[in-house]
């Protein structure tokens, strides 16, 4: 590929560095924009129409769907659940990710193996993540009841996925899957903390807790923010795990906003409503990320004094995609 390309460039000796780069990057970006923006424009158009699937007819309804959505308690409910799920996931991911990183940052025999093991949940799909946690929380044969019921802690066939608790279990499963990413971000940051600082702190008789709060945390706070953004965006826009784990149930207790849109689309064939809701979802996602973006830009300038060459949101947005 490159050999042939190389000769092509030879032919056009006049192409300057920036023309060369712009050509490549322009093509790549254009490809992506076309494949993503065009459908979005199309869906904006759909959202303004009422579709009758049976008669295969459409008529213009303007902002009706948007008005309807905002008045719909199911929408409010779904957004609330989404935010709740996001909040739980963020807190747990930060705690667990940091905990894993702190362990991996210490030298001990077998650390290399543990480092590899930690990455495994990240490599697993959300569908399989759901499977694995179903085998843990299933009331009939699940592992949790299998251990806790004989000890008398819970009654046999205790239902972990009750209306109140289900959201937590899905969040835990999600964190199991995504925390490794955060852990490795944290680990990279921890490894940049100068060891001399810890030695100096020991000489000053600072305890482990004091060292953590006075040395470690200030050094990694920028990464804390990155992980925060990554998990927020992912938790808020994610669909696969929730769909595979609970499908929104029991009742609507885990019906996050993307699941509601899915139901509008594929159960009720309300395409106009669903696309309108999509825009609402995109709007909220953008508000969330922009908020963090502002915080992040500010922090970045403050803590790193790196000139903001690329948009400061970029690292977070990119890192967010590193979840597979």
């Amino acid at each position: 590929m490159a050999a042939a390309g190389a000769r092509a460039v030879h032919g056009r000796a006049g192409l300057s560095d920036s023309q060369f780069a712009l050509t490549i990057v322009g093509a790549v970006t254009l490809f992506n924009v076309v494949v993503i923006i065009l459908p979005l424009i199309y869906s904006a158009w759909i959202s303004l129409y009422e579709t009758n699937v049976i008669l295969r007819k459409e008529h213009f309804v303007g902002g009706k769907h948007f008005a309807k959505l905002l008045a719909d308690p199911a929408v409010v409910n779904a957004i609330t659940i989404s935010l709740q799920f996001t909040a739980i996931s963020v807190v747990l991911s930060l705690l667990i990710g940091l905990g894993i990183a702190l362990v991996l940052n210490e030298p001990f025999p077998g650390r290399g193996v543990l480092r590899a093991v930690v990455l495994l949940p990240w490599a697993v799909s959300e569908v399989v993540t759901a499977t694995m946690w179903i085998f843990i929380v299933n009331p009939t044969f699940g592992g949790l009841n299998g251990i806790l019921a004989p000890l008398g802690i819970v009654s046999p066939s205790f239902d972990w996925l009750s209306e109140h608790a289900a959201i937590y279990w899905v969040a835990i499963a999600f964190v199991w899957h995504i925390a490794p990413l955060g852990a490795f971000f944290f680990l990279a940051a921890l490894q940049t903390v100068p060891a001399d600082l810890y030695r100096a702190a020991r000489i000053d008789r600072a305890g482990a807790v004091a060292r953590f709060f006075h040395i470690t945390l200030p050094h990694i706070k920028y990464v804390v923010l990155i992980v925060l953004v990554v998990v927020t965006v992912e938790a808020f826009r994610g669909f696969d795990l929730m769909f595979a784990f609970t499908r929104g149930g029991p009742g609507t207790s885990t019906q996050i906003f993307p699941l509601l849109i899915f139901r509008y689309t594929f159960e009720f064939s309300q395409y106009g409503l669903a696309t309108a809701a999509s825009y609402l979802l995109i709007g909220i996602a953008l508000i969330l990320t922009t908020t963090y973006f502002i915080v992040l830009t500010y922090r970045r300038k403050e803590t790193l004094r790196v000139k903001a060459t690329a948009p400061a949101l970029a690292p977070a947005v990119a890192a967010e995609g590193a979840r597979v």
């Binding site: 490159a2 092509a8 460039v9 560095d17 060369f20 780069a21 490549i24 990057v25 790549v28 970006t29 490809f31 924009v33 494949v35 993503i36 979005l40 667990i96 362990v103 210490e106 001990f108 543990l114 480092r115 590899a116 093991v117 990455l119 495994l120 949940p121 990240w122 490599a123 799909s125 959300e126 569908v127 499977t131 694995m132 085998f135 009939t140 044969f141 592992g143 299998g146 990279a188 990464v223 826009r237 669909f239 696969d240 595979a244 609970t246 499908r247 849109i261 899915f262 689309t265 395409y271 696309t275 990320t289 790193l304 060459t309 690329a310 948009p311 949101l313 990119a318 967010e320 995609g321």
Partner: protein, 291 residues
């Protein structure tokens, strides 16, 4: 060097991390080695006769329950489909991203930040938000029920991330090596091919794997674009076995075996390339990049 009390703390922590990461695997693997009759007695029990018949059933070997037969076969086919979809996506996505990452990481040009930002912003979009237009557009282009639409969607979702990752990687390589290649007679693309790509191979390998896993694991687009068709990939096929799927009586042990089987390739890749993947500065290549 550590205090004994700290030693205990550290080992407890390490054990906790290992258990947290591995127990969900262990539980499902354990279930996959049981018969359905055993499993309903509970997952936590000693199984002195573990069976691999569930796995064999997926490959169409041994006696397969009549109800389950079709689904087991579907898993085998989905496995192949997933390979057919994800390998080209990862290869083409990586190739495009090598070019994009090289251009972004190595050159100054007008609108650089705008273009980078545009490219990356597409990643924040919730996938559900584009599912209807994709479905309608691809249906009209006859790209539903076959892998083309799905591959296109996957390609657009891996390219921004991989471009970003490789941009950081190329940016961190010594620029004089590329300049030396130019002096030694290479064009820009020649220098990329002969010098930069070999040097970036760990990053490129990691990028390839990230793309592969993404395409292998994704559910929503797969379900909508190829679900129920002969081109169904693993995630939607697995979902077909899950207890959440209305209309079927779930055979849990089979579900466990299929899940484990589907996750073996990602696990192997993650284990083998762990260093490369975690060595990538996924979060913030900017700080490691010299301009």
């Amino acid at each position: 060097m550590l205090h004994p009390r700290q030693q205990v703390l550290l080992w407890t922590g390490a054990a906790a991390v290992a258990l947290w990461s591995l127990i969900p695997f262990a539980g499902t693997i354990w279930a996959s080695l049981m018969t359905e009759g055993q499993l309903v007695q509970g997952l936590i029990q000693w199984n002195d006769r573990p069976t691999i018949s569930n796995y064999l059933a997926i490959f169409g070997i041994g006696q397969v329950s009549a109800v389950f037969g079709g689904q087991a076969e579907a898993i085998g086919r989905a496995f192949v489909n997933s390979i057919i979809v994800s390998v080209p996506v990862a290869a083409v996505g990586t190739a495009i991203s090598i070019l994009g990452g090289y251009a972004f990481g190595r050159y100054r040009f007008p609108f650089k930040n705008t273009l980078l930002f545009t490219l990356l912003t597409t990643r924040v979009l919730p996938p559900i938000a584009v599912i209807i237009p994709y479905f309608v557009i691809f249906a009209s282009l006859k790209m539903v029920g076959n892998p083309w639409g799905l591959m296109l969607v996957y390609l657009t979702s891996v390219v921004p991330l991989l471009t970003w990752v490789l941009m950081g990687y190329f940016g961190s390589l010594p620029i004089d090596l590329e300049r030396a290649a130019r002096i030694d007679g290479c064009s820009r693309l020649g220098a990329l091919w002969h010098v930069m790509i070999p040097l970036a191979s760990p990053g490129i390998a990691a990028a390839f794997i990230i793309a592969l896993l993404m395409a292998w694991n994704e559910l929503l687009f797969a379900m909508v674009l190829v679900g129920g068709s002969p081109w169904e990939t693993l995630s939607p096929a697995l979902l077909g076995l899950s207890p959440n799927m209305p209309g079927f009586r779930t055979v849990f042990v089979m579900f466990a075996a299929a899940s484990i089987l589907s996750t073996i390739p990602p696990l192997i890749l993650a284990l083998v390339f762990q260093r490369y993947i975690t060595g990538l500065n996924l979060a913030d290549p900017l700080t490691s990049q010299r301009d």
